[in-house]
Amino acid sequence: MNLVLELRPPESRLYGSWEERLAAVSRFSRPDEVHAVCEKAHALGARAVLAVLDDSIREALVAYQRWRDMALWAVVPNMFAFIRDLTDLGMVGAARARFTRLGPGAMMKIGLGAVTQVPAVLKKDFATGALLVMDMELAALRGLRVSRLFLHPQLTEIGLAGGVRQMFTAVADRAARAGIEAGLVTNNPLRAAEVLGPDLKRFAVVVAPANPKGWKMFPDRTSCERLYRADPARWAAAEITAGGTVPPRAALEHVESLGLGTAVLDARAVDAAFRAAAA
């Protein structure tokens, strides 16, 4: 089975207590700790990282990819950071902050592209705005080997709710132009299949919850599993330990029983699986 490590800013996760939060946030604010989790995941067999990047994760992955063959499945934009910038700096300020992080070549490319989109931006077109921010954050990932491109789930779920199919096909187009594959992360796999129809096949992988408790499997476990079994190579299982309540081995066995070829493990599951494997 293909294993994928899931990384995102530790501040954006839920924890069992405030003390547990502070311990995790403190730990994963250090690139060396992120690096160590990558190495544990690699030892377990993971060869890709599904990541929403912050500075620590980025720094760790740049270093890690220098000596390990670990692909990056980039989830962009970092919506928590973007929303924070929106309230602090406004739309223009948030865009400017991302733009100024780019290298000269990317600035030119993004800037020229944005010119043609000015009318849509002025009309606050949802897909145009989302894709522009996505483009800027993707362009800022220089130095990293990105093999798959994902839209952040906060945007994905809104886009799926509204049936904004063209936003997703535009993501697939961008990925194809960049010579990489597009993917999708969603807690609403049935809605994704309904909205995207045949275009779902343009996404090499769709990451969605799959665990024996039905945790976060919306609308229900039965219909999600039926969907997964119909095209098991496309679906990657997320939330496999159901919030840490299913042991990693049992969680992986469940994923295998569904016929899925890929499982996504967060840092907590990697720690637990690594301990179990080492015992």
Binding site: E11, G16, F80, K124, D125, A161, V164, N188
Partner: protein, 349 residues
């Protein structure tokens, strides 16, 4: 029970209006008949998100074209009372985003008007709809921990570290700072679990923005239960609201976190063993068809809507009615009144 969809209007096409709009589109028993916002430029923005319902400049303009069974009030807080007045003129059920109003007087007026109109009403304290919170309420109501004696609560988020702009950070428009707009989620849950508020002693502090950025409050409920709340939106480490609640009773202790309950019982009861019990959110049914915001609120948004729709169908007030929202508003007002008086106790009649 009617089989036709509940026809809903959303007043206020900002962030919360759009979230409710999306849910109204995906819920099988609702239909969105229109948005209302004075900013006509939002029309294309709504449409670009797949929100197809027309945008009207006023509720009156919407009413000329369509009849709404329910109105979702998602405008800035200081406008809630006039919008509610207008909505009730349409005899529509009411969903009011939190907090109910910028003051207790306005909140009580809203509740009175809604009751006089005999409509179903609800307030949008979304976290109360998480299955784990509902389970905490069920456990306490079952008497498993015996007579409740005291509690301790926290609500933290990393959001305000410098002065911010916009109506949300103007007390007269939003009702306040972290207490009114962030920790009120937890105040609502505490009020739901423990009942009407009686007395408050509090301190607040503005250390980043012009509204309250942190607060400490000692709350006494009519039942005699006392407890403390510590809250801040200037705490590093958490991009979404992190809250926790510990409730001590004569026969046990309940610790509520975002995804689990730890329950310690001195004797078996309520279906739980003596000693420590852990209930994880994954052990509970979620009854959710769509997760509109996986990292913030999650399935609670859908469940909130579903609760409201069911209440409208049944013609009964949901647990999250405006009456419960007014209890929260009384806590908010009393916290501010006590803090303004240098920490003097404020009795809530």
């Amino acid at each position: 029970m009617s089989s036709s969809p509940l026809r809903c209007a959303v007043v206020g096409a900002g962030r919360m209006g759009m979230v409710h709009g999306h849910l109204l589109q995906v819920h099988p028993d609702t239909e969105i008949v229109g948005f209302v916002d004075r900013d006509a430029s939002l029309g294309p923005h709504l449409a670009s998100q797949g929100l197809k319902a027309p945008l009207y400049p006023s509720l009156a303009a919407l009413s000329e074209k369509a009849a709404a069974d329910a109105v979702f009030v998602c405008t800035p807080t200081h406008t809630h009372l006039p919008v509610v007045r207008e909505a009730l003129g349409c005899r529509a059920h009411l969903f009011v985003e939190k907090p109910v109003a910028t003051s207790r007087d306005d909140a009580e007026a809203i509740l009175r008007l809604a009751n006089e109109a005999r409509v179903v009403h609800a307030v949008g304290y979304v976290y109360a709809h998480l299955p784990i919170v509902g389970e905490a309420q069920r456990i306490l109501a079952s008497g498993a921990i015996g007579e409740v004696l005291r509690f301790k609560a926290h609500a933290y988020v990393s959001e305000v570290f410098s002065e911010k702009k916009g109506w949300f950070f103007q007390k007269e428009l939003s009702g306040g700072g972290v207490v009114a707009n962030m920790s009120s989620h937890l105040l609502f849950i505490v009020g739901w679990l423990l009942g009407p508020i009686r007395r408050v002693v509090a301190h607040t502090r503005s250390h980043a923005s012009t509204v309250d950025d942190s607060a400490q409050a000692l709350l006494t409920f009519a039942s005699g239960v006392t407890g403390i709340l510590d809250t801040s939106w200037s705490t590093p480490g958490t991009q979404m609201l992190d809250y926790g609640l510990t409730v001590d009773g004569r026969k046990g202790t309940l610790v509520l976190a975002r995804e689990r309950i730890l329950l310690h019982l001195l004797e078996a009861g309520g279906g739980f063993e003596q000693g420590w019990n852990e209930i994880h959110a994954s052990d509970l049914p979620s009854d959710t068809a769509y997760d509109v915001s996986p990292h913030i609120g999650g399935e609670a948004f859908y469940r909130q809507l579903d609760t409201f729709v069911r209440a409208c169908r049944a013609g009964t007030q949901p647990f999250c009615s405006l009456a419960e929202g007014v209890n929260t508003q009384r806590m908010i007002d009393a916290i501010y009144a006590s803090a303004a008086a240098g920490g003097t106790p404020v009795d809530v009649a």
